[in-house]
């Protein structure tokens, strides 16, 4: 799920940036530091949409660096249990398949792939129904449901399922080829 939230961060700035462009430098550094990172609590920071406020700076003794508390708005992405996501398949093996929804890695075990789909090894490993009409392979797009998330400091990993109504392949690269 995406959220638009306000976050705060203490930014350290080198003295060479002190001057008329201080605020610009601060914002540029904020974007560089924060966008694309993941925090366990809020999920992945997708983009900064605005800076609300730059607080009072405090000089750090000895280094001359100044720390500013910066409050900014940003779009974050955090998967939740029960959420339906669309994801691109990356790896297919006997155990199941891995898929990615943006920065989130999702594993769908063969227990949670419909029983009529069987693993086929070969140069392009895939899961295929017995009549061959549906195929999951690398680069397939699937709609899946998150059943578990594990949130670490820098990474979010999910377990998903496609063994439910309206879940499964939504775009098959093999069919188009």
């Amino acid at each position: 799920m995406f959220f638009h939230i306000v976050l705060e961060r203490n930014m350290q700035l080198h003295p060479r940036h002190f001057g008329p462009n201080l605020r610009d430098k601060l914002v540029a550094k904020l974007m560089k530091d924060v966008e694309g990172t993941c925090s366990g609590r809020h999920g992945f920071v997708v983009a900064i949409t605005g800076v609300d406020n730059v607080g009072k700076g405090l000089i750090r003794d000895g280094t001359g660096f100044v720390t500013f508390p910066v409050k900014y708005q940003c779009v974050v992405f955090r998967p939740f249990k029960g959420e339906i996501l669309e994801a691109a398949v990356t790896i297919v093996n006997k155990m199941g398949f891995f898929a990615e929804a943006g920065p989130v890695q999702i594993f769908v075990s063969n227990h949670l792939i419909p029983d009529d789909m069987e693993f086929q090894s070969g140069d392009i490993p895939n899961y295929t129904t017995s009549d061959g009409s549906v195929k999951i392979q690398r680069d397939s797009e699937v709609r899946l449901k998150i059943i578990g998330t594990r949130v670490d400091a820098t990474e979010i990993f999910c377990i998903g399922t496609i063994k439910d109504d309206f879940l499964g392949v939504i775009n098959d690269p093999g069919a188009a080829a």
């Binding site: 140069d123 578990g148 670490d152 377990i159 109504d165």
Partner: protein, 472 residues
């Protein structure tokens, strides 16, 4: 904002003054101070709200999933009223869904400590880590058995078995740049380009500071073996090395896929085990040049003659003769070790799938087939050993004795008329002279070794015993 926690108490007053000054200055740049403070307060409030939002969401996650799907269904039913006949079915399937969800999960395997079936965090220490599939994947023993069984069925449908391949000295030979001997320097100008992976066989890998020479015939070997086997790479090398070698051998990623097992995946130190291989032991053949690492799976093993192309490789096994690279020679392609073994593999594969007497494929065991094929190599030979080992040693425990018996020969201690071969290191012993007198075959011990590696009875003439007088 307790940022200057590291400032010493002595200098603090001065820095505080300066900080105040700077703040005043900055206030002009950014915004009004009072506003900032207000904003601070509102932010704290906001933070609190945020948490609440998350909590609500979590509650929803936990309880809402079944409800939500119900709502979805109801919506659907409202939409198409014409399908009322199916309504009676809907609740039934739904309730069965719910009961499945309520079933106790056996936690078949874990990824990052999370059960792959129910998504809960589980702590299972007995699960086997399969790091080569995913770095955080652990699979329980029941699940391993289930997977193997399932996989075996689909594999047999394709008439395939498993083949576990070692890298170093079996399929290729590598050496570090600094271990190249002066006579091998010429190789540097003969390496194949890394752009031409499918055809080259000598590569210079700058990132690992290594030369790698693929064993002659290996490309054909892999191509033909892939029709009969699902192949794994299993090496005691480290993961980056294993991956790089797999790339050289299989640039198209069609033979090994993710089945590359390296040192870090082994569950026991200095031992290779089939416990991390997703294949039933009864259908696995192992090709390796080192016997002791497969202590628990000797019956699956086909021992390979070591491939030493570089001199450093031979030296590490105390072989001091000149290396193939120094002699500018190489193993023969049409009848080198890999070509020979490919023939053996073909025969085993054929026997395994052609056995008429037992219809149940699942109960067949490739180890039995391996044993049978092996025991036909020296069938009909009756061996007597002379001066092969020291007097007083238990002959039955000798490796050569064991090998000879595995190859189907009958070994005995005393001479009689039915003996066909005398294996000796010395022309002068009583048994050797007896062999000459009665026109029996007199061979040196490497005749057995050769038969063991080549899976064929070797011409006895090429293994004649050297005259001890000439030798010294």
């Amino acid at each position: 904002m307790s940022v200057d926690g590291d400032s010493s108490p002595l200098s603090s007053s001065g820095s505080d003054d300066f900080a105040a000054l700077l703040n005043e200055e900055l206030a002009g740049i950014s915004s009004d101070e009072s506003l900032e403070e207000e904003a601070d307060e509102t932010d704290q409030d906001h933070d609190g709200e945020e948490e609440e939002v998350y909590e609500e969401l979590n509650v929803e996650d936990a309880d809402f999933a079944p409800k939500r799907s119900k709502r979805q269904r109801l919506d659907m039913l409202d939409d198409d009223e014409g399908l009322h006949c199916s309504t009676s079915l809907e609740p039934v399937s739904q309730s069965s869904d719910v009961s499945v969800q309520l079933e106790i999960c056996a936690h078949p395997s874990l990824i990052k400590g999370m059960c792959v079936k129910c998504g809960r965090m589980v702590d299972d220490v007995s699960a086997v880590a399969l790091g080569y599939i995913h770095k955080d994947l652990k699979v329980g023993s029941d699940e391993l058995a289930r997977l193997r069984n399932k996989d075996l069925k689909s594999l047999f449908r394709k008439k395939k078995l498993y083949l576990v391949l070692d890298l170093d000295h079996t399929l290729l030979n590598s050496t570090h740049f600094q271990h190249i001997s002066p006579d091998e320097e010429y190789l540097k100008s003969q390496t194949d380009s890394l752009q031409d992976l499918p055809n080259g066989n000598l590569f210079q890998l700058d990132s690992m500071r290594m030369f790698t020479k693929l064993r002659p015939f290996v490309r054909t070997f892999l191509k033909e073996a892939s029709n009969m086997f699902e192949m794994y790479v299993y090496t005691m090398g480290e993961r980056p090395y294993a991956m790089e070698m797999a790339r050289l051998l299989d640039p198209g990623k069609i033979y090994f896929d993710s089945r590359v097992i390296s040192q870090a995946d082994c569950t026991q130190k200095h031992q290779k085990g089939l416990d991390v291989v997703l294949g039933a032991e009864s259908a696995v053949i192992i090709l390796d040049d080192t016997e002791y690492v497969w202590r628990q799976h000797k019956e699956n093993l086909i021992l390979m003659d070591r491939y030493h192309y570089f001199s450093s490789s031979g030296r590490s096994f105390n072989l001091n003769n000149r290396s193939l690279a120094e002699l500018k020679r190489d193993e023969s392609e049409p009848d080198g070790a890999l070509a020979t073994i490919l023939e053996v593999l073909k025969r085993i594969h054929q026997l395994f799938f052609d056995l008429e007497q037992d219809d149940d494929l699942m109960r067949r065991d490739v180890r039995q087939v391996l044993k049978t094929v092996r025991s036909e190599v020296l069938k009909g030979c009756k061996l007597v050993f002379s001066r092969v080992w020291k007097i007083g040693e238990q002959v039955e425990n000798q490796r050569l004795w064991e090998v000879a018996e595995e190859l189907g020969a009958i070994c005995c201690k005393e001479l009689d008329a039915s003996v066909t071969h005398v294996v000796s290191t010395d022309m002068g012993t009583e048994k050797s002279r007896w062999a000459v007198k009665y026109k029996k075959f007199l061979v040196n011990p490497s005749w057995i070794e050769a038969a063991n590696f080549l899976w064929q009875r070797q011409p006895e003439d090429s293994f004649a015993v050297n005259d001890s007088k000439k030798e010294h």
